[in-house]
Subunit: 215 residues, 4 copies
């Protein structure tokens, strides 16, 4: 009661400690929603501040500049994604896993829009590009190891090395990420289900046993 705080709900008494991170997170949440709705280019610090209920100065107080904010945002999004992957990793077969993954990502309506904005902006922000590249590399590793395990179990085809398969699946995901905001009407739940099923079919085991890609 005397000092330890952290709960925003509690009426602030005494010296608030550890609020710094909380405030940053709050700002980041606001930034997420602004970027998701209006895109990176239209996400001014003023708008972010306003959405969070703060003033412009607050944003520049918590973040050295816009770039730093965006990077912090990217890191936090990726951290979320990490947690999500962690959560579903145990799941049995590939199909269940893909479906869990799909359900979680579409569950957050800001997930894809923000991701595509970050990806697009990354091209012109080296620091952001570095963050993205690092995380993506890790995801591809994770995917690859999942796929490799599945290959070992014989539940998916093993004629294509797991890392290439991971690359292909990631690319598909990114492609849909980019296109869905442009032609949302094309991505009906029905169509998405078909696409997912087709992906499953695509990577299903082939009868002829192990064959190397390109051979």
């Amino acid at each position: 009661m005397t000092s330890r705080s952290g709960d925003e709900e509690v009426a602030q008494r005494g010296r608030p400690t550890g609020n710094h991170e909380a405030k940053r997170a709050e700002l980041l949440k606001a930034a997420t929603s602004v970027i998701a709705q209006e895109g990176y280019a239209n996400a001014s610090l003023r708008k972010v501040a306003k959405r969070a209920g703060y003033t412009t100065g607050a944003v520049t107080y918590y973040f050295a500049n816009k770039e730093e904010m965006v990077i912090a945002l990217a890191e936090s999004r990726f951290d979320n994604y990490d947690a999500m992957l962690e959560a579903i990793q145990g799941e049995g077969d590939i199909k269940t896993l893909v479906n869990s993954w799909l359900k979680t990502t579409v569950g957050d309506p800001e997930f894809w829009p923000v991701m595509s904005e970050l990806l697009a902006h990354g091209r012109h922000d080296p620091a952001l590009a570095r963050v993205i590249a690092e995380r993506y590399a890790r995801y591809r590793d994770i995917y690859a190891s999942i796929l490799a395990a599945a290959q070992a179990q014989g539940t998916i085809r093993d004629d294509i090395p797991a890392d290439l398969l991971a690359d292909q699946l990631s690319a598909m995901g990114d492609g849909w990420t980019m296109m869905s905001p442009i032609e949302p009407e094309r991505f009906t739940p029905q169509r998405v289900r078909e696409l997912v099923d087709a992906v499953i079919a695509l990577i299903a085991p082939v009868s002829g046993g192990r064959r190397e890609a390109g051979s």
Copy 2:
């Protein structure tokens, strides 16, 4: 020939000879290279004009506004792409075709960067989005018909409907389009070759005969 002709230093005034469409194309070329290098957000009319050797006013003389310019740009890029597809469409088997396609697109170093910028910006420019959606629909149709023909010939798997297959391949292409500018070092010629081979393997005929996806 005897009379002193205007140096480039001298501001051009009055009515020079020259064809309207040619000038527009010239400006579009400048816009292409600026967008490819600096991205849509940083491609100010000033920069475009400067790169073409004109003043800002000239750009707004040829294009009502920035949006119209970008749309004209997209349209012209897609026209190029149409021509390219036309040229390679006759090619025999899928592998040759994919390779031709790859060679042509990587032949133009501005192709992927500009495409990814347009895609990313399309999300915030409904008119551009419409153009992209229309063209993409056509491309998917073309891909699908090519794939369907190949399925009929038995050169690729027929357990996944051609349109879904087309969607998957398009998405992969878009995904790589987005990522290659962010981590160019990952897309070495060697890796690209492997990825392409893996795609070929992915869609190669499966021994078990026709199976419906998702079943």
Copy 3:
């Protein structure tokens, strides 16, 4: 048939003479309608040219610059007004006269809007101001002489010098000219009729014979 032209309808054969003035008038007509609809500030030479079916260059060919065009426009409008005044001047009593005047001016829907734009812009264009001042002086003289005649006939009050009366009536007209575009709904035909009747009443003869204003 060999040379005399002037009719725009006739297919142009041989050397067209006297077309210069006709073209100017055409351009002026276009300028009138643009200014009436969009106001002086928004009446760019491009718009004027376009409305007349010409190019920008044509306008600057026929008029040294925008100011000259506006002045020519003002002169031509005032010439029209002169002709109109001329036409109704003979009319019998004041009431008939006022009604004729009203009918003619409201008959041309561009009359008041253009007039108010010119008046407003005149303040910042000395040459235009001069034109307006001259013409207005003449109108006040005409009004004054009409009013003086009516005073002599005893059909209107003579306790206020005709020139002051003319000033007052002009001012009222200008005032309504200015306000009608701002609150058009206030100037219903019914209200206008009442206002006109009230003006007639205002200047009707007073029983007490001649009295000097202010005394």
Copy 4:
């Protein structure tokens, strides 16, 4: 006191003391004088800012856009006018009242010029038009009630309904408002006095008792 305080030359940054409304008023004052001198069309934000000793950005900080600034300006001018009317409303007879009104309005050399600019611009700015229409309606009501009271007292003519009379007088005022900047030499103090006296005469009681206008 010992330490060197900032000169006016030094660009002001950071958060100075000072009240938001006061600064707004300051900018409005600058806007008033620019508009009075150069007209609405020539009153760029740059000029306004400069006159107030700020940069353009400061103006757009205090006002969302130019339109909002002009409306705030109009509003404040009308508020002044309200106060003025309030102050003189008690005055005895019409003549004294008119003279007080006149004295106050000509006391502010920016009053008429700004008013005429606002009126003229109102035609092309619906939001401004609304403000003007509302205020004007109120003024006409006030004038009408003053005139009605005078009619009841028998100090002015009662053969014309007070609201029509108010309309006529307002219109005259507006007409002179518009013309005085165009031909200022015409509005000598002497002439103004005569015009005012003529107005008094115009609305003086008529001997013949109550007559309805237009009958």
